[in-house]
């Protein structure tokens, strides 16, 4: 896929999301001149510990998108088993495609070129609602989620409050 094609595909998705916004997030470019770097604001999903939060994330696409997955980083502080302490999101659909020798992830759980910003964000929002504590990126958060749920809830609530204060900066 050439540079022009990946840019064209991303422009098409941006236009589509502007025309038909999707519940749960709003997407735009960090810099209008760079189609490869998006800022996506995730609205904490209702009926989860993250409800009421506004989480700013950066989605960075490689030049050979959609053959390779983008990277997603939370810029707003967040406490979650599958998001490491620097904000990097670790979910299987953002892992490189291919033959997983060890069989941890089935091919359909990994990156596919049919994924779009919308399908990625839908997965991330469902990850917020339903952490996978079997492959944690933040081990402390995963342990807390499993063993000291009240403490976990308190930390998340603190992040939600903070996110409300900083969302419009």
């Amino acid at each position: 896929m050439s540079l022009e094609q990946s840019a064209l595909l991303l422009r098409r998705q941006l236009a589509e999301l502007n025309r038909h916004p999707v519940d749960g997030f709003s997407a735009g470019l960090i810099d209008d001149d760079d189609i490869y770097r998006w800022e996506v604001l995730i609205i904490g999903p209702p009926d989860t510990y993250y409800e009421g939060g506004f989480f700013k994330t950066h989605l960075t696409f490689p030049r050979d998108y959609p053959l390779k997955p983008p990277k997603l980083k939370f810029m707003t502080e967040i406490w979650h088993p599958n998001i490491d302490k620097t904000g990097d999101v670790c979910i299987s659909i953002l892992h490189d495609p291919g033959e997983d020798k060890f069989g941890y992830e089935r091919p359909e759980e990994r990156w596919l070129p049919v994924h779009t910003v919308e399908t990625i964000m839908v997965s991330v929002i469902s990850m917020l609602a339903d952490p996978n504590d079997e492959s944690p990126a933040n081990i402390d958060a995963a342990k807390e989620w499993r063993e000291r749920r009240e403490e976990f809830k308190k930390k998340v609530a603190r992040c939600v409050r903070k996110s409300q204060e900083t969302a419009w900066d």
Binding site: M1, Q5, L8, L9, R12, Q13, D31, D34, Y36, R37, T60, P66, L67, K68, D96, P97, G98, E99, R106, P107, E108, L112, P113, V114, T116
Partner: protein, 143 residues
């Protein structure tokens, strides 16, 4: 993997413009470095997350890639004539135009030849139904 070293010229430009160069953005604005040949070197993917030119592949990787190219070439191709139910290539999200070169996978999904061939070099599965292409190929040989 990206080169993290920034050239001094890029830094100078960002200083003149008065903005911080942020990660990922430095490559796009700077002029191409001198003495770089603009010859296109084809890249291969011995593993999904590794990209290397042919000259840097091990013998084993070369054989694997050659086999993969052979398998891909066994998949039927055609010219889109507008008669198919599938009207869009889900990889580039572009509509098929009459005359486009398309490739048919054993699961009957079709894509632009250029779009799907690049993908099949990385992962031998159909992006729409995740059907492993080689298993399907082998079963069609058996019948």
């Amino acid at each position: 993997m990206g080169n993290c070293l920034k050239s001094p010229t890029a830094d100078d430009i960002s200083l003149l413009r008065g903005n911080d160069s942020q990660d990922g953005s430095e490559a796009s604005s700077e002029p191409p470095p001198p003495y770089q040949e603009s010859v296109h070197v084809p890249m291969y993917h011995p593993a999904p997350n590794i990209s290397r030119p042919a000259s840097q592949l091990t013998e084993e990787e070369q054989i694997r890639i050659a086999k993969r190219i052979g398998l891909i070439q066994h998949l039927p191709t055609g010219i889109y004539d507008g008669s198919k139910k599938i009207r869009e290539c889900v990889i580039c999200m572009g509509e098929f135009c009459v005359g486009d070169a398309v490739r048919y996978l054993p699961c009957m999904h079709i894509y632009h030849k250029e779009c799907i061939d690049d993908w099949l070099m990385r992962s031998f599965t159909c992006p729409s139904c995740m059907e492993p292409v080689d298993a399907a190929l082998l079963s069609t040989y058996e019948t």
